[in-house]
């Protein structure tokens, strides 16, 4: 038998299935997920889906006929709860008791929101945002809510905050660190977003500790801070990061790091019969810099899935994709290419006060990443430079009248 099972029907799992068929795999292929719907896009949940611009049908990544035509079995709403090997044959057992045999396995379990555990965190109206059910719960309270408090000043929190402001709500963002989006961008970009959200009427509070969530009749009414201040709330949206889902990997005895599934540059886990891709994975830096990284992004889900599919078919293609990210907050489009971790120099192009600028990051004189706000040409130029192994001399990059794409030069080896 040559059955392949993919556990986790999100962006990465779907892409592995598609790529396996594109590469000519003709054996039995099952994509198993715990959600009711076939794989769908998550990024719009905090933006266009929340605001009602798009409906659930438009989120679907592929039509049912697409899977049928390619003989891909998509099993929805039946989570795999255990997985084991007996010799060369593996068996997955689902919540409903179904048994799915496999010869090779792909794990794309994704991640789940980190939960807050303080007094009142189980009150109705304390919400998270990961899947359609979460978004629907948020939407159900949305219209009647006047006061929205966001705990966590990262991408998800700020996107929801921007949407809530646009809908005319009173919005407060509570962040424990001394700046916003601290894990993904430099202080320059963080400070820009703080000012931009304040300009739009959001109350942004940095370096604050939440001590309790207050409620009445089982439903949230406010958030109490360590200094005793109480912020009224009809909705508390918690966006304080995600945790990799690794329980099945643990059952298989796979190597984990920080709760994530460790893979090599071929998306192989510590068991060569098992690949893994997406949010739940810890991998070598894709551009060859030191260290292991976790990338929670659509780009990584798709590109790593392609590598994983090739590996399952015995084709070894190392993962070398340039990471990229985006976040839409009000009329601000943040686009990031590369990974800025380890930078020792920045170059700012344009003026953040104009809400149109970029920050280039360098390590040892070599370009490693860029953040852009409403500046797609700079973003595209750097994405291309990194993909080609090129750099842009920092002393030339600062002049915003010169197009970055004209400044690419080969990087020293």
């Amino acid at each position: 038998m040559d059955d392949i099972l993919i556990i986790g029907a999100g962006q990465a799992g779907m892409q592995i299935a598609v790529s396996l068929r594109e590469h000519g795999f003709t054996g039995p292929l099952t994509l198993a997920g715990n959600e009711p719907a076939t794989p769908y896009q998550r990024p719009p949940l905090s933006k266009a889906y929340l605001s009602g611009e798009v409906d659930v049908e438009s989120l679907e990544l592929r039509a049912q006929s697409f899977y049928d035509d390619r003989d891909i079995t998509v099993r929805c709403a039946d989570a795999v709860v255990s997985v084991s090997w007996a010799g060369d044959v593996g068996t997955a057992v689902t919540a409903s008791g179904a048994q799915i045999p496999f010869a090779k396995l792909a794990l794309t379990p994704g991640s789940e929101p980190r939960r807050i555990s303080i007094a009142g965190s189980d009150l109705a109206g304390v919400l998270y945002l990961r899947d359609v059910a979460d978004a629907d719960a948020l939407k159900a309270r949305w219209a009647a809510a006047n006061n929205v408090v966001v705990i966590g000043g990262g991408f998800i929190g700020l996107e929801v905050a921007a949407g809530a402001r646009k809908a005319g709500k009173t919005v407060t963002v509570l962040e424990a660190a001394d700046r916003l989006i601290a894990r993904a961008v430099s202080p320059i970009t963080s400070e820009f977003f703080r000012q931009a959200h304040v300009r739009r009427g959001v109350d942004v509070r940095l370096s604050v500790q939440v001590s309790a969530i207050l409620g009445a009749h089982g439903s949230v009414t406010g958030v109490e801070l360590a200094d005793g201040d109480v912020v009224p709330a009809d909705i508390v949206l918690v966006g304080i990061g995600v945790v990799a889902r690794s329980s099945l990997a643990e059952q298989l005895g796979l190597q984990l790091a920080g709760g994530a599934i460790v893979v090599n540059e071929f998306a192989q886990t510590s068991d060569p019969r098992v690949v893994a891709a997406g949010d739940a994975v810890m991998m070598p830096h894709p551009l060859g810099r030191p260290g292991q990284v976790r990338l929670e992004s659509v780009q990584n889900a798709v590109d790593q899935a392609k590598v994983a599919a090739a590996t399952l078919l015995g084709v070894r293609e190392p993962y070398r994709s340039v990471p990229w990210f985006w976040s839409d907050q009000a009329d601000l489009k943040l686009q990031i290419a590369g990974l800025s971790t380890g930078f020792d120099q920045t170059v700012v192009r344009g003026n953040p006060d104009d809400e149109h600028f970029s920050v280039l990051y360098y390590a040892d004189g070599r370009l490693i990443a860029i953040d852009t706000v409403n500046d797609a040409p700079d973003y595209m130029a750097v994405r291309r430079a990194l993909a080609q192994g090129a750099t842009i001399p920092p002393e030339l990059a600062s002049d915003p009248t010169v197009s970055l794409k004209t400044l690419l030069v080969p990087a020293p080896a």
């Binding site: 719009p44 438009s58 592929r62 798709v302 797609a376």
Partner: protein, 107 residues
């Protein structure tokens, strides 16, 4: 339902029914039309769903918005006056019969 016809770089032609409000990109990707990559899923963040809108629809469909305009400058295939990112074209009843040629390179 209005229909869209896609001419793919590999020579295939696909005609699909489109829901009003769905983008020209979404309709293609959901049905596996060859040549549209659409890495970002429709956020106008990647320029990998580049199409050339055929006459006589190019005028009716209109030109790109500012951000899309900038993204098209960085697209992998040559930009033409009828270039659009197909994620930014939302289907309307009057676009029935729309035909687009998918740009030969997206990445």
């Amino acid at each position: 339902m209005p229909t869209i016809t896609y001419f793919s770089p590999d020579g295939t032609t696909t005609t699909l029914d489109a829901r009003v409000g769905d983008s020209v990109m979404e309709v293609a990707v959901k049905h596996g039309v060859d040549g549209i990559v659409a890495e970002c899923g429709g956020a106008c963040a990647c320029a990998t769903c580049h199409v050339y809108v055929d006459a006589p629809f190019s005028e009716l469909v209109g030109g790109p918005g500012d951000l899309e305009d900038d993204m098209l400058d960085g697209a992998a295939s040559d930009r033409m006056p009828t270039s659009r990112l197909s994620c930014q074209i939302k289907m309307r009843d009057e676009f029935d019969g729309l035909t687009v040629h998918i740009a030969p390179e997206q990445l």
